[in-house]
Symmetry: C2
Amino acid sequence: MRTHARSYPAFFLAVIASLVVCTAALAEADPLPSWNDTNTKNAIVTFVEKATTEGSADFVPPAERIATFDNDGTLWPSHPIYTQLAFALDRVKALAPQHPEWKTTQPFKAVLDNDMKALAAAGEKGLLELIMASHAGMSTAEFEKIVTDWFRTARHPRFKRPYTELAYQPMVELLEYLRANGFKTYIVSGGGIEFMRPMTEKVYGVSPEQVIGSSIETKFEMKDGKPVLMRLPKIHFIDDKAGKPVGINEFIGRRPVAAFGNSAGDREMLEWTGAGSGARLMMLVFHDDAEREYAYGPANGLPDTKFGTFPEALMKEAKAKGWVVISMKDDWKRIFAFDQ
Amino acid sequence: MRTHARSYPAFFLAVIASLVVCTAALAEADPLPSWNDTNTKNAIVTFVEKATTEGSADFVPPAERIATFDNDGTLWPSHPIYTQLAFALDRVKALAPQHPEWKTTQPFKAVLDNDMKALAAAGEKGLLELIMASHAGMSTAEFEKIVTDWFRTARHPRFKRPYTELAYQPMVELLEYLRANGFKTYIVSGGGIEFMRPMTEKVYGVSPEQVIGSSIETKFEMKDGKPVLMRLPKIHFIDDKAGKPVGINEFIGRRPVAAFGNSAGDREMLEWTGAGSGARLMMLVFHDDAEREYAYGPANGLPDTKFGTFPEALMKEAKAKGWVVISMKDDWKRIFAFDQ
């Protein structure tokens, strides 16, 4: 009888233990809870299972599991303007007292007057001037502090939250899911490499050494007996369009097996990724959700935009090559972590 | 009695098990068996213990454990000439039949005639011409194959072995010791990034994405409907001297806590590393072993060299800043894995 009496608690403990294990297993069963159960989600899971199943024809050895992600429009919004442009405009305003000549000189006058029409008229040359005035002339350490402080205080004009809270929750889950399956996740963005690095670890779990981006030149100098890297007003590398495979090759030295973008700027990265052999996954985020985020094309008849254009030709190429187009509206249960 | 009889084998098993454990522990006790027990070895072990002891004032969080290594003269020989220069000379000879004009044009004529005096007279401009003729004009995939094939067949003129067998065994152990303690080991070399990548994993255990080096420009192109990266005869980045901190900042985005070099080309990398706070280790390999490898300075009165110069001023700076100078002769039990 004592033996039986003892075995009851043991039995219950076993039941409880197995319940805990089963619950954990069920929780594990959906690594992508913010994705609706569509073909898109299925394409991701199928790819990961093939790539990680030893003995499968599509098995990818862990060292070769490289996944590259564009940032603006792919991992967080690029509307109403690129986050880095919002930073540049804020910086010009903050620096204006030291530059009285800006009151009468374009494109600075346009920024100080909030004259978006004049700013657009300044074109790419004007934009470059704003970037150089706001991004160069200080050390890398000083710039890191400026960027970090800005991310702490700046708010997105529509969502009224810090930009660092605007990561797309389904993409954050995708990044984590890939990493949990042995992938190294890289950001490969047209944005400034040193603008992104202060926030990527916190926002996406991507460490600085896995961030590739555009850069200006820096110069090693001794200042008061201490070495510094000074940021110069000269473009070093543009990590966009045909520059993305170049940047990937230079920084990683391996071809990705998965690549994620959202615009014409990501076309060559997806082509480069897709041209490798074995399991591949190429995806494009399509912004068709004006209600929860934004809707733009011009593909599928949506309005055109300067900030992440998705032309009809890209949609055609995606279909022809088997790239998966993510519909934000249909494939994503929620956009942001703070969404219901 | 039965109980006793049973306990004997158990006792012996326990003894054997503890012997196995102790032997393993003893084996683990010296992670640097090719290093003599000198202050130099002690400096390495002390640094690693401080950096990895949680709660210690010098503790370095795993994510920040970045160690950077120069290649030529630090991880393998840079004499009698840089390995990559030997490759360039071999390539010029192999390509000569397609370039009949080289028979009468310098610096190519000098290479084909094995006229080292005329080659030296061609200077840096001549060297650059040789590099471009041998390193550009093909796709990155083609270049990788050319380099891989060359490493398979080329032999070092003195040691009569493949260059890939000439890694300094003490440095290979140091790389492994650091990785075993959570460090990410990077190569930061003046050598070509795409010349090194085909061999660094095999020779040093360093994966392609942890190799930083000099580069020429590459261009994304469609060839027969397939994307390729073509190598252009134009310098993109020189990862030497003041370029090393620039390259480290661009590729890694973190300041190293340990850096290893052997020549004037590594000075700024060590200064940059040393200027950070917390535990630091800066080391320079000094080639003072003509018998087992090479001896050159001009520091300490040794002969000067064009391939990895170590000037008196560097020796002075090392002493003033507490950088550890490794004497190959005194600190290394063996140089190569094949040494006794």
